[in-house]
Symmetry: C2
Subunit: 219 residues, 2 copies
């Protein structure tokens, strides 16, 4: 099956950004870049009228998101068909300190993807998803570690959400104060926030030297 | 109204951790510590059968979570009563590299709080919530910045979720491999992950020196 995907995602009433629409982004290039930089997503689904939000690892492969099915295990036990979900990925880039508390904000990039998730059956597609989970963070890990055997692949449930209904929201730059507040003697600016990796801690039963792809990990 | 809160949260069928129950935590001290270390939560709610998950700032004040109502603005337009929500806070502590891909994992601490959120009306309660949003990250900021006036307080919608149905899930420590895999020549261990703050960037219209509480920010 060929799939024609437009460069811009179609804005629907459901993905239309209601609050602060000037921060909305609908082009795939920006959206995919945010998705590829994140490694934890938050999966939302409903059960008996109660929403649940569960963190889990994910990866984008082509025009779909793959995530660990265990995140939605509570729901999956009750559903055989497609599962209405929302996958949200949030990157926090900075605290925005305005002169007034009211204008404090965050610099961030977030993606919200809506749709129906389905269980992945094909072993090869499942392998590609698992490869995505590890390689997106630690490029080279897939080839060093022992890859999943058939039994392990079967024991792993992976869900796929096509990226058909998706939008992003981005805030960048300095604080924006009300004009009179600029005269106040209050420090204003941005505190950059990022994910940092510290030195790897070798397992006590491991005698292998740190491989090249784990040295100088940077975000 | 006095509220008697037990040290351990009552486990309900909805907060019972289904997957990997040995990682479940139900004591309030641990749960509150996780909540107080996070600054972004993911709010889940449903509309017309479609779940939505929106990131927003939050703070714990006493035995309740407060979060920006704008996160749920899409929903709030349609609801006047309590809004069934799930608030999830996730802290990522490390990538856990096992010898086999199958046993790769993450070290993390997450809290899931369920219930009905209601709009906060009382200005003083709203002020305390806003104070919580800033002070939990930047202790001292509330007293330096211009505090919200009545008009700004009115323009800010804040939601409250009582912490009555809440659980946490925690993974720590090294990878756990299948016994035969320990002989494989694969590096294994943990890559610690944390939030880092970089040097503050002063707004170009600000001439104030960096205040003490913003120097040497650490996570």
């Amino acid at each position: 099956m060929r799939c024609i995907v437009p460069e811009a995602t179609p804005m629907t009433e459901r993905t239309r950004v209601v609050r602060e629409p000037h921060r909305a982004v609908y082009d795939r290039e920006t959206i995919y870049k945010i998705l590829d930089e994140g490694f934890v997503c938050h999966v939302g689904f409903s059960l008996d009228g109660q929403p649940y939000v569960i963190p889990t690892l994910f990866a984008r492969v082509g025009h779909a998101l793959y995530f660990h099915g265990s995140a939605a295990s509570r729901m999956l036990r009750n559903l055989s068909g497609g599962l209405p979900v929302c996958l949200t990925v949030t990157l926090t880039d900075g605290f925005v300190l305005a002169r007034s508390v009211f204008n404090h904000s965050m610099n961030y990039r977030s993606v919200v993807a809506l749709g129906q998730a389905t269980l992945v059956d094909a072993p090869q597609e499942k392998r590609e998803a698992l490869r995505g989970f590890t390689e997106k963070i630690l490029r080279g890990r897939w080839n060093e570690a022992r890859q999943p055997n058939d039994q392990e692949l079967k024991a792993t449930s992976v869900l796929r959400l096509p990226l058909s209904e998706v939008s992003a929201k981005v805030r960048t730059g300095p604080p924006i104060d009300d004009e009179p507040d600029y005269a106040l003697p209050v420090w204003a600016g941005v505190i950059p926030v990022r994910i940092a990796f510290d030195s790897p801690i070798r397992d006590e039963r491991c005698a292998i030297a740190l491989p090249a792809y784990l040295q100088n990990l940077q975000r």
